[in-house]
């Protein structure tokens, strides 16, 4: 089960597998327990704050209307400006840098630069304290970008450290790497679906994290697992029903839905359930890591209430 025993929880995984869903569900769960929680979004655009009916938080820590829960969008350019301001201190010095188009281009172009700046903001949030000196947030949830780009993100401190060798940016990169790799403060969970490609990519990611990026790994969260429709002991009566549906003219007192079509729908779900089980077994056999499974939630349309249902299986 996922515990909130590290200040920084990173949620990572392939595109569309349910990272934001897990982050939101965890955020709601933690906040309910009175844990002061901040959700950090990255990537192309903000999706979580709008789900709570809030305007995009765009680089401001925004309360989500649930006690103890806020979110922020880590904008790389804004993070960079922050960084420049704090390094150069005086406005006459930092303003020309922040406003320079050369520097803007550099941020876009510099390998690992944008990523590093975003992580720098994360470090600051992790260290933020209240006036009385206690940590501002008990829990920071990072909704990391999809796997490929995600690894670029987490490799950026190393990349920059190798390039910079010394100087202020090197120092920052080192602080970031220290946080990311700290057993006491950080955990990464990887979300996946129980399907061929997502599982293969998850296995690749696990070894990259273990042997290259060195972020302490938490669980693999297998999301949207289709439950079995029928219990094994129902096999016999099910076979009987199938035979009946094929051969006997049944007086269907329940409208124009054919028994055969109902069986076909159930078979579809059974097929997926079986496939999910196979891939979970493959994952467990190869990853050597704890797995948490979350059921497929049959909600149409998908809403915040559906996310809460997912959370119900985490508690």
């Amino acid at each position: 089960m996922i515990r909130f025993d590290r200040r920084l929880l990173i949620v990572s995984g392939k595109g569309g597998v349910g990272k934001s869903t897990l982050v939101t569900a965890l955020g709601l769960l933690a906040a309910e327990r009175g844990i002061e929680t901040l959700i950090c979004e990255m990537g192309e655009n903000e999706k979580i704050a709008p789900q709570f009916g809030r305007r995009a938080s765009s680089y401001c820590e925004t309360p989500l209307g649930v006690p103890h829960l806020s979110s922020i969008y880590l904008d790389p350019q804004e993070s960079f400006n922050d960084y420049v301001r704090s390094t150069l201190k005086f406005e006459t010095l930092w303003r020309p840098v922040v406003e320079s188009s050369l520097i803007k281009a550099f941020i876009q172009a510099g390998p690992g630069f944008k990523e590093l700046m975003t992580l720098n903001k994360l470090v600051e949030l992790e260290r933020a304290v209240k006036p009385n000196g206690t940590p501002k947030y008990d829990l920071i949830l990072l909704d990391a970008p999809a796997t490929g780009h995600g690894l670029t993100l987490f490799r950026s401190p190393m990349l920059v450290m190798r390039g910079a060798k010394a100087g202020p940016i090197f120092q920052k990169a080192r602080l970031i790497a220290e946080l990311l790799q700290d057993e006491q403060r950080t955990r990464m969970h990887i979300v996946t679906l129980a399907e061929e490609m997502p599982v293969s990519e998850t296995l690749d990611m696990v070894s990259a994290i273990r042997f290259d990026v060195h972020i302490p790994l938490g669980d693999i969260v297998v999301n949207a697992v289709v439950p079995a429709t029928f219990a094994p002991e129902q096999a016999e009566v099910l076979a009987g029903l199938r035979r009946a549906a094929q051969t006997v003219a049944i007086d269907q007192g329940w409208g124009d839905v054919r028994l055969l079509d109902m069986l076909a729908a159930a078979d579809q779900l059974e097929g997926r359930s079986r496939l999910n089980a196979e891939h979970i077994a493959r994952l467990k056999a190869k990853a050597n890591i704890d797995t948490v499974t979350l059921p497929f939630i049959f909600d149409v349309p998908w809403t915040l209430a559906s996310v809460r249902k997912v959370g119900g299986h985490l508690a």
């Binding site: 192309e44 520097i103 490929g148 100087g167 293969s200 049944i250 779900l269 496939l275 149409v300 349309p301």
Partner: protein, 422 residues
């Protein structure tokens, strides 16, 4: 948008007349028989790689010499195409594989997997005016670290490969799979973005000049943007800054060739021999992306072939009326017991019908949502929209791909069978 106009592509605002091109709605079989380039794009995980392979097979079966350029195919799919290693070279798919399954194969099927890093190195060698220039880039430590890590590199390299593969007429048709991107159209922007990163106006001015100034470029740089650069140096650390300068100036002599190559590909993509096919799932988030694609594609000046909605939950029509007060499963049990003697006394029937009914309800809700989403897409576009059902298993072999083709070409195949039958 900005990048496009920067590169001299006319602003497309208000060019609704362009839709005319897509509106002829050439069916998929005809596209595959007549086009020379099919680009398959869509959100992550929707089935681009699978459908690319399937379409390439269909075109080859019909007699063309087809190359499918795949990107990160699932291992089992790659293996079933005979692609065991990522070698960046086209490989002929053994026709015996088709014979063994009684599948016709009149043409030739070739397949290759994109190796981003190798493609980048090859492109550097190709575009460099002299071998020393290429070597300087290849030796640059920053280049070595980014050439397969920088986001967008994969898309850009797919485009570069496209440029190379279309230099001669080795293949009748190229089917191009694309990497997962946030927006399907990111693929088209990638060369601009990539070259833009390496060759942004300001950087070029500064480092281009720096490169010409030779060894003294750092001194030159100080003079040119003295204040900002020295402050920036203070922010980042001197050595890092110097390395970056070296990186950008190493690329200096490559920009022009890179830009030309990208221009060529873009002209090709906009030409009458090319068509784009968007793959999507019926999931609302993917459909939103499909609608965005539809609203933007005209402005790119490329022609939209059609949509493939993959992984559709489909269900025969039917409703269960509220009827009498008894819950549906109870009614079903009653009626089954009445008409099927074998089930009359079976105690297991009740829980079974409970499970069956709730499974059907869940599935029906998804099928309903899918149908609504697809109808909305169809209402918005004049091109064809094909549906492929959600199969019970992954598609990883030729038989699976053939099954998928049964849905992509349902109309033409049944026409063919009719002809054969008459």
């Amino acid at each position: 948008m900005n990048t496009l106009s920067k590169l001299g592509i006319k602003s497309p605002v208000g060019l609704t007349g362009r839709t005319g091109r897509g509106s002829k709605a050439t069916d998929l079989a005809t596209l595959l028989a007549t086009k020379r380039l099919i680009v398959v794009c869509g959100s992550g995980g929707v089935g681009k790689t699978t459908t690319s392979a399937a379409m390439a097979i269909a075109a080859a079966q019909a007699g063309r010499k087809v190359l499918v350029l795949t990107i990160d195919p699932a291992r089992r799919l790659a293996a079933s195409l005979g692609l065991s290693e990522l070698d960046n070279d086209p490989r002929r798919v053994d026709p015996a594989l088709f014979q063994a399954r009684d599948l016709p194969m009149k043409g030739e099927l070739w397949a290759m997997m994109l190796d981003t890093k190798r493609s980048f190195d090859d492109a550097v060698r190709r575009h460099a005016p002299r071998p020393e220039v290429a070597q300087r880039v290849l030796d640059n430590t920053i280049y070595q670290q980014i050439s397969d890590a920088l986001s967008g590199t994969q898309e850009y390299m797919a485009m570069e490969q496209l440029s190379e593969l279309t230099r001669d007429n080795t293949y009748d048709l190229l089917v191009v799979d694309t990497p997962p991107t946030q927006h399907a159209l990111d693929f088209l922007d990638s060369p601009d973005r990539m070259i833009g990163v390496l060759d942004s106006g300001v950087l070029k001015k500064v480092f281009g000049g720096a490169a010409k100034a030779g060894k003294s470029y750092f001194g030159w740089l100080r003079r040119s943007t003295k204040v900002v650069a020295s402050l920036f140096e203070r922010v980042t650390g001197g050595e890092f800054f110097t390395d970056m300068v070296e990186f950008f100036s190493a690329f200096d002599e490559l920009y022009e060739a890179m830009r030309n190559s990208s221009k060529r590909v873009k002209a090709l993509l906009k030409g009458k021999d090319a068509a784009f096919i968007l793959v999507t799932s019926p999931q609302p988030s993917h459909m939103q992306e499909a609608n965005y694609f539809l609203s933007r594609i005209d402005s790119y000046g490329v022609s939209l072939g059609g949509f493939i909605v993959n992984r559709v939950h489909s269900l025969a029509d039917g409703t269960i009326p509220a009827g009498d007060a008894a819950p549906v499963p109870d009614r079903m049990v009653r009626s089954l017991r009445a008409s099927v003697p074998a089930l009359q006394a079976n105690q297991q029937l009740e829980p079974l019908m409970q499970s069956l009914y709730s499974a059907w309800q869940r599935y029906a809700a998804m099928a309903q949502q899918d149908a609504t989403q697809i109808a909305q897409l169809e209402a918005r576009t004049r091109v064809w929209v094909k549906q492929v059902p959600y199969f019970e298993a992954d598609i990883h072999d030729l038989s699976g791909l053939d099954k998928l083709n049964g849905y992509l070409f349902s109309d033409s195949r049944s026409a063919a069978t009719e002809r054969a039958g008459s």
